[in-house]
Symmetry: C2
Subunit: 314 residues, 2 copies
């Protein structure tokens, strides 16, 4: 089961009526502080506030009539939940979302706004999977996984495919956050196909560095628990994504929670963009490795902007 550039091109065509073409933006003051020339691909401005809308739509659009009638289901405490509810709403199909009972109020509200039907469960992986199994058995809904699936990877890859049309020339580096790995895998495939010389780097929190450990040892080391502030990246790296990363990614670099929060503040202050902690990890990695990126042309994917504005992390 592999994913190629043709799958990403097909996904881009398929999802184009449903997702935004997101802008690329830059800031002179951030460039001065970072010592390199950065372009941000703004997936925080994507539908439902994150790149996740791309993969979710790519999966949902391909369902047949009978599947659409039964609807879709997933478990997620985060952006995949809202993205799937939105994608289902375009086809008037039910979206059954299992969410841990400690999910953020903002993300629960987003799922409801798009018409998703929420089942709350205890905040453990076992409870989530068990609740999902029951839901699927009862409803016949199709399970749409959050990251470790070819349709999802191809959908997430469309952000960087779009980027290759937006920039006049290849950058030296492309950075995306890595949690489950769907965005990084899809981005790497798209990037290496169009810009083979560009180095593709995964950006990960120090406290959730399973992708770096897996990448550097060649052995899949999914983490069990993590308390990084970058809540979207606490997920373990997917096994399919790991196999793609090994072939297509050049390195994985980490940044501390402190660096992530500082980078998040820089983006809010100078870019005037609301980004969530997980989206700031790319810039945090660049600011934490100045020698690595000095004077280089760097693209950073800002992955999402779903933040509770009454509970900011600073």
């Amino acid at each position: 089961m592999t994913v190629g550039i043709d799958d990403i091109r097909a996904a881009a065509l398929r999802i184009s009526p449903y997702v935004h073409r997101t802008p690329v933006l830059s800031s002179t003051l951030i460039n001065l502080q970072a010592g390199c020339e950065i372009v941000f691909k703004c997936e925080n401005l994507q539908k439902a506030g994150a790149f996740k809308a791309r993969g979710a739509h790519n999966a949902v659009v391909q369902l047949n009539e009978a599947q659409r009638h039964a609807g879709v289901a997933t478990h997620s405490s985060g952006n995949h939940a809202g993205a799937l509810a939105l994608a289902a709403s375009h086809f008037h199909m039910p979206a059954y979302i299992v969410m841990p009972e400690n999910s953020s109020a903002t993300k629960v509200a987003a799922v409801r706004a798009y018409g998703g039907e929420i089942t709350f469960c205890e905040p453990t992986q076992a409870a989530r999977e068990s609740a999902l199994d029951k839901l699927v058995a009862r409803t016949g809904a199709a399970f749409i996984p959050p990251y470790d699936h070819p349709d999802i990877i191809a959908g997430q890859g469309t952000a960087v495919l779009e980027l290759t049309e937006q920039l006049p020339q290849a950058p030296d580096f492309l950075l995306t956050p890595v949690g489950g790995g769907g965005l990084l895998a899809g981005s790497a495939i798209a990037c290496k196909s169009v810009w083979p010389q560009t180095l593709v780097i995964g950006a990960e929190p120090v406290d959730a560095d399973d992708a770096q450990r897996s990448f550097r040892t060649g052995q899949w080391h999914p983490q069990c628990t993590s308390v990084t502030v970058a809540d979207g990246l606490r997920t373990a790296l997917g096994i399919l994504n790991f196999s793609i990363l090994r072939r297509q990614v050049d390195d994985i670099l980490i940044a501390s929670d402190e660096a992530i929060l500082a980078a998040m503040r820089l983006v809010w202050t100078h870019m005037k963009l609301v980004v969530e902690t997980s989206a700031a990890v790319g810039l945090a990695v660049v600011m934490s490795h100045p020698e690595y990126f000095a004077n280089q042309r760097v693209v950073i994917v800002l992955s999402g902007g779903n933040v509770d504005i009454d509970r900011l992390p600073w």
Copy 2:
């Protein structure tokens, strides 16, 4: 002294190397709540975080060699200060900025980041003007006014000129905030020239409604003091701008501070954009007059995003 579409076209050409072409964005969830179809023109993503960069560059680029040597000066507690310092920095000329001693730390930091030289004064109009007069006498710097001048109005008008190239068809309504009136005047001239059927509406806080009173009575009523949360709009309407508004603007509508803060939260939450209070007045007016805008196609200019993220107004 008038301003026409040719002046705005000339300004657009003149400033294009120095300013961003800002994106237009929309949100399904905001449209659902507002009951109309809104496109936002994102000048919060402009250089130095506000549309003010357009007018300041249009004035500065036209200075001759001797004037550039002497530099530029203004008094401002807000976005014009940062915009002018940025514009001056492109030509390595000094920018002397008089700021009231109670100016926000964020705005002071922005002026310094762009190399502006700040003179603090007491927070009164008289103290500002007197400090500026002394500065100009000492340095020979050219005074670049914040809003009531043809070059500034033509520069601010370039945002809507750009918008007319970005949208496939004319909207029913165009709304911009109105403080000193430079943005509204320039926007109205650009809009009526390209889209004569579009109604142009100024959006103003209830507590700083001098533009509405002036517009409706036909008599210039500059306000003396205002405590609206929309600090960028406390300024009195300029007399040149008033004469343009009378001819080119269709109406001026007001919104309460409560509605402004609610609209600001909507933009942060659903658009993932950092906007300042003054930038939210357009949406606040739309949400406060649902019968007026029902099912219409509406463009709202988001004027700026310079907010102290440690001191949010909610």
